[in-house]
């Protein structure tokens, strides 16, 4: 962090001349009078030419740097110290759970001394702040990386899969991955395909309110995640987040069925075309769907390769079909997932383009932007024509999951895989991403 983070222009000059840095106690004298306080970092987006100080009563105020404003150092900064309480003692008879931190709100803190955003809190810090975890499992913790989840790529998915595979091999009873929520659904799908039928639970967990606030959902989600990792009877990749606005019930979603449906609410994650696998309430874990891979099963398959030359395209009325061709040429796309309308449609103007792409060996799969329900391209003429052009309907699979599965399929089958082989893999249910029975919702 710079010694004058966020400052520029006149304000920066003035502060430099006075020889002060962030955290120093200073006196600012202006035409309006004198103010004393601790120099705070400046928000990068805020207006220039203001100095922010924290007054003795704890409040921050901004002071305009006009002509004649003087700054004087009173005292040097006190070294900032985040001193988490010592982690609680481990209980040797409990299951072993590894917490792997990858970034996101659940593992971020604001530096209150300066107001700046600080590097991720270590997973060990999380443990010391949530001492309840020590009553559930023997915790080990490590930071794999610290990335905003929108910046993740397939190489991060691979690194996560490999890390979890190592932890499985080393005999952990469960793995928890602390993750930013924005793309946690994609990562959950990626790990579901990369770590098929794992012998232990692999639990992704995030927070919609940062962990530095008293109302954060980080602790309740983390406790539920560790409990799931330690004690769930299944070996599945799952996402563990609030069921609703209340803190008392946490939903455990199947990784290939879950999507973030709200920008900010604690209950942003919902299972689509499926019920959550389990819930965690005050009474403990409650299994909600008995169809799962049992903990300790021996059909585990590790396959962490992805190919990102696949694309998810959302159709809209009037969309030019050439879009697909251009993307194919520019980005050497090997496969498309279309998010069509209703039962799985795009404009009939796509038919010639689709036919040509399919002939070139490009896989085109159809999902629905309706999110709920399954595609059925037999019902209308246009659907049948689109199928005849070579577009593959993908049943009740989530569009995002279909994209990830396509990336994984392309990686698994390799550079020379033919389209039919990709289509065969894409239409075969591997880890519960497709289901032939649709259930009523909202009851």
């Amino acid at each position: 962090m710079s010694q004058l983070q966020g400052y520029s222009g006149k304000a920066k000059q003035l502060l430099e001349r006075a020889g002060v840095k962030i955290g120093d106690e200073i006196r600012v004298v202006s035409g309006k009078g004198e103010m004393r306080g601790i120099l705070m970092a400046r928000y990068e987006l805020a207006e220039p030419d203001y100095i922010v100080i924290k007054l003795r009563n704890g409040y921050n105020v901004g002071i305009r740097v006009a002509d004649g404003v003087k700054v004087e150092k009173i005292a040097d900064a006190e070294a900032p110290a985040f001193r988490p309480p010592p982690p609680p003692a481990m209980k040797p008879n409990l299951p072993r759970v590894a917490i792997v931190s990858t970034g996101g709100t659940i593992a971020s803190r604001v530096d209150y001394r300066t107001g700046g955003v600080r590097a991720a809190l270590s997973a060990a810090d999380l443990l010391s702040i949530v001492p309840e975890l020590a009553d559930i499992a023997q915790i080990s913790a490590e930071i794999l990386f610290s990335v905003y989840s929108e910046n993740l790529t397939i190489s991060h998915w691979r690194a996560m899969a490999e890390k979890v595979n190592d932890l499985i091999r080393s005999g952990e009873d469960g793995v928890v991955i602390a993750h930013g929520t924005d793309t946690m659904g994609y990562t959950a799908a990626a790990l579901s395909f990369a770590l098929q039928n794992p012998p232990i639970p692999v639990v992704l967990v995030g927070a919609q309110r940062s962990s530095d606030r008293p109302s954060s959902d980080a602790a309740t989600n983390l406790i539920a995640a560790v409990d799931t990792a330690a004690n769930a009877p299944f070996g599945e990749v799952v996402v563990c987040m609030h069921k609703w606005h209340s803190d008392d019930t946490i939903a455990i979603h199947r990784g290939v069925r879950v999507v973030k449906l709200h920008t900010s609410s604690r209950d942003a994650f919902k299972s689509i075309n499926a019920e959550p696998l389990a819930f965690r309430t005050k009474a403990g874990l409650v299994i909600n769907d008995n169809r799962f891979n049992k903990r300790g099963s021996d059909n585990y398959q590790f396959s962490p390769t992805f190919d990102d030359r696949a694309m998810l395209v959302k159709f809209y009325p009037g969309m030019p079909p050439e879009t697909l061709q251009i993307l194919r040429e520019k980005l050497r796309i090997r496969g498309f997932i279309l998010e069509g309308t209703g039962l799985g449609h795009v404009s009939s103007s796509f038919i010639p383009v689709a036919r040509q792409l399919v002939e070139e060996g490009v896989f085109i799969g159809m999902t629905s932007q309706c999110k709920f329900g399954r595609v059925n391209m037999y019902v209308y003429d246009n659907g049948r024509d689109l199928m005849r052009a070579g577009i593959t309907p993908l049943d009740d699979m989530l569009a995002e999951t279909a994209l990830v599965k396509l990336m994984w399929s392309l990686g698994k089958l390799g550079e020379n895989a033919d389209r039919e082989a990709v289509a065969e893999l894409m239409t075969r249910n591997l880890v519960g991403e497709m289901n032939n029975r649709s259930m009523p919702t909202g009851w």
């Binding site: 207006e47 203001y50 007054l55 704890g58 409040y59 105020v61 002071i63 209150y112 530095d212």
Partner: protein
């Protein structure tokens, strides 16, 4: 009589008042409560967040220790995801900032150049986030309390907290409707030197806030906090004094409390008690009460509680010592036990035998604790965990008694006494609200506000007197009762006689209030309807009082409903004329008698009192008599 100068009284005031803006401070919900509407109920836990400055706030530890499950009720009529802590706050409400700036300028305070919203940690559940958003709008300035200039330290804008509905043992229920309503807070320097001066200063601040024309009125819209200390005493923060008149009493009681505690400290030192003499060695004395005659102890024991006792060496006689009514060290110990230990209360030997506890039982306890004659003992009947917490709190408080007066936060009771709430919070609990960008306040904006400052209440009073030809006294009543705005709006809108509106809003309401009629809960819209219908002649002004009483007893019903229910609807003019003509015909012989008007008026009023305005009736009667005379 206490000589407040001599005891070195210093009082600082914090006046909080809700602003009457159209939207809340950090979202677009209305600030008025909405009746009906869908109510969502959800549960939350709050956790203490550790301060990055390395220190932990004593107030936060206190609340964390009492961690409760919180149930929130959200009426979607005026609560959205922001109050539910499910959506980041919207940018700060500019209307509220403007009101705060106007108030600042009226107090000659200096607005800050840039407003930074902070998070003040409050984890009792009254804020869904676990913090209250607050920001400094201006610093400095002053108000006048009589002859004295009282300096202002800060003027801040903050979000009001949720209202507690119910506090259960392990749960607290809050209603979120009030959460987020803009609240202005004016803090004075601690220079106030008497109870009367504190009242004057609070009144002066209140008057300035009201001059902005943008503050809410009525129950719960004003809260005053007091910081009180005396020489040799300690700074006590007293929260939640709702009424202006109560301020003097609270100050007086706090001075007495501190003086009493200082006396006790001196006596303890005289007795040679040292803090190291106070050791935590509670004894389980449940056996003593095996066959107790005390109903309350018996009941608790049946619930499998136990009785624990703690010795307070050489405290005998000091716990019940009472120089002023209600002010006793025993009460302080009990309040700490309740606050920290989740127990119903304590017994102590100064007040025993009593409550069915016998002298023999007391003697056995003394024996069990090896109490000397000048030792006191404290008893708690509870489960072991709570009892230990309670007795530890008692012991800590007893140690403080040797030192004198502890710094703490207390809650005001409606009778002007106060009770222990929690330790005083440190500065460690204030963090930046990173979700809200800072707001700059330009010099041009300040100058434009300065050029159009609203009149003070004094100026308003003068204007009302002249414009509506009202007595000074009546205008003062309108202003004191905070109805001058309503008065003016109604007079301007409906053209009703100003004196009638003024008398209704002051004398009529005061007298109804005295009779226990809940007139303060009547909405402004009801008064508008009242005067509109009065103007239209639907009823006579004599019926106003009964209509208001009826409306207060029948919340949600209209003035028209009241008129019908009370049968005070004025008859149509033709009917009235016919009745008068018939009356004149019956008294034909008096037609040219001067007394006919007053005579017939009396007869008419017997029939129409409350339904027809006397003046209207009088005018009509004269008209018809003239007509009859003309006909000959």
């Amino acid at each position: 009589m206490i000589d407040y100068k001599a005891v070195g009284l210093k009082v600082g005031l914090e006046v909080h008042r809700q602003l009457d803006t159209s939207k809340k401070l950090f979202c677009d919900c209305p600030t008025e409560a909405v009746e009906g509407g869908k109510v969502v109920e959800f549960r939350r836990y709050l956790r203490e967040a550790q301060s990055e400055l390395g220190t932990v706030d004593p107030a936060a530890i206190f609340e964390a220790k009492k961690r409760k499950e919180i149930i929130y009720q959200a009426n979607t009529g005026n609560v959205c995801l922001v109050e539910m802590d499910e959506e980041p706050p919207h940018p700060i409400n500019r209307e509220a900032v403007e009101v705060a700036l106007i108030a600042s300028l009226l107090m000659n305070a200096t607005p800050v150049d840039e407003v930074h919203v902070m998070r003040k940690i409050v984890i009792d559940g009254s804020n869904t986030t676990g913090f209250q958003r607050t920001c400094i709008i201006a610093v400095g300035g002053s108000v006048r309390a009589g002859e004295k200039e009282i300096p202002i330290q800060t003027i801040t804008l903050e979000e009001d907290a949720a209202r507690i509905v119910e506090a259960r043992r392990r749960e607290a229920v809050y209603d979120l409707s009030r959460l987020g309503v803009p609240l202005i807070e004016i803090s004075t320097a601690p220079v106030i030197q008497s109870p009367e001066e504190a009242v004057k200063a609070a009144k002066a601040i209140g008057d300035i806030l009201r001059a902005t024309g943008k503050v809410k009125r009525g129950l719960g819209t004003v809260r005053q906090d007091l910081n009180i200390s005396i020489s040799g005493g300690a700074l006590t923060e007293i929260k939640g004094v709702q009424e202006l008149e109560l301020i003097a009493k609270v100050v007086e009681n706090e001075v007495k409390r501190q003086l009493h505690l200082l006396d006790i400290a001196e006596e303890l030192r005289r007795r040679g008690v040292r803090e190291s003499d106070l050791v935590f060695s509670p004894v389980d004395v449940t056996e003593v009460f095996r066959n107790t005659g005390s109903k309350v102890v018996k009941r608790k024991l049946a619930e499998s509680a136990r009785v624990f006792a703690l010795r307070l060496p050489r405290f005998a006689g000091l716990l019940s010592l009472e120089k002023w009514p209600g002010i006793r060290l025993g009460a302080e110990l009990a309040a700490h036990a309740k606050a920290w230990g989740d127990v119903e209360g304590i017994f102590h030997t100064d007040e025993l035998p009593a409550y069915g506890i016998s002298a023999e039982e007391v003697e056995e306890i003394r024996k069990a604790l090896e109490c000397g004659a000048d030792d006191a003992a404290v008893l708690v009947v509870s489960d072991e965990h709570s009892a230990m917490d309670a007795l530890k709190a008692v012991l800590e408080r007893a140690k403080e008694a040797i030192r004198g007066v502890p710094e703490e936060t207390r809650a005001a009771r409606p009778d002007g006494t106060t009770t222990y709430m929690r330790p005083r919070p440190g500065a460690a609990r204030m963090y930046p609200e990173t979700d809200i960008p800072p707001m700059t306040i330009t010099q041009e904006y300040i100058e434009s506000l300065r050029s159009r400052l609203p009149p003070t209440l004094e100026e308003t009073a003068k204007r009302l007197q002249q414009k509506y030809n009202l007595s000074k006294q009546l205008v003062q009543q309108l202003i004191d009762q905070e109805v001058n705005d309503v008065f003016e709006r109604i007079v301007e809108k409906y053209g009703v006689q100003p004196s009638v509106v003024a008398a209704t809003l002051t004398e009529t309401l005061t007298s109804l209030r005295r009779e226990g009629v809940a007139v303060d809960e009547l909405p402004t819209s009801l008064f508008e309807e009242l005067f509109q219908l009065l103007k239209e002649g639907v009823f006579a002004k004599e019926a106003i009082r009964d209509i208001l009483a009826w409306a207060a007893a029948n919340r949600g019903r209209s003035v028209m409903d009241a008129v019908n229910a009370l049968n005070v609807r004025a008859p149509p003019r033709e009917e009235l004329e016919k009745a008068i003509d018939e009356l004149i015909a019956k008294n034909q012989e008096m037609l040219n008698d001067k007394k006919i008007v007053s005579r017939l008026m009396g007869d008419l009023m017997k029939v129409y009192r409350g339904r027809v305005d006397g003046a209207v009736l009088n005018r009509l009667l004269m008209e018809r008599i003239e007509a009859a005379r003309a006909r000959g």
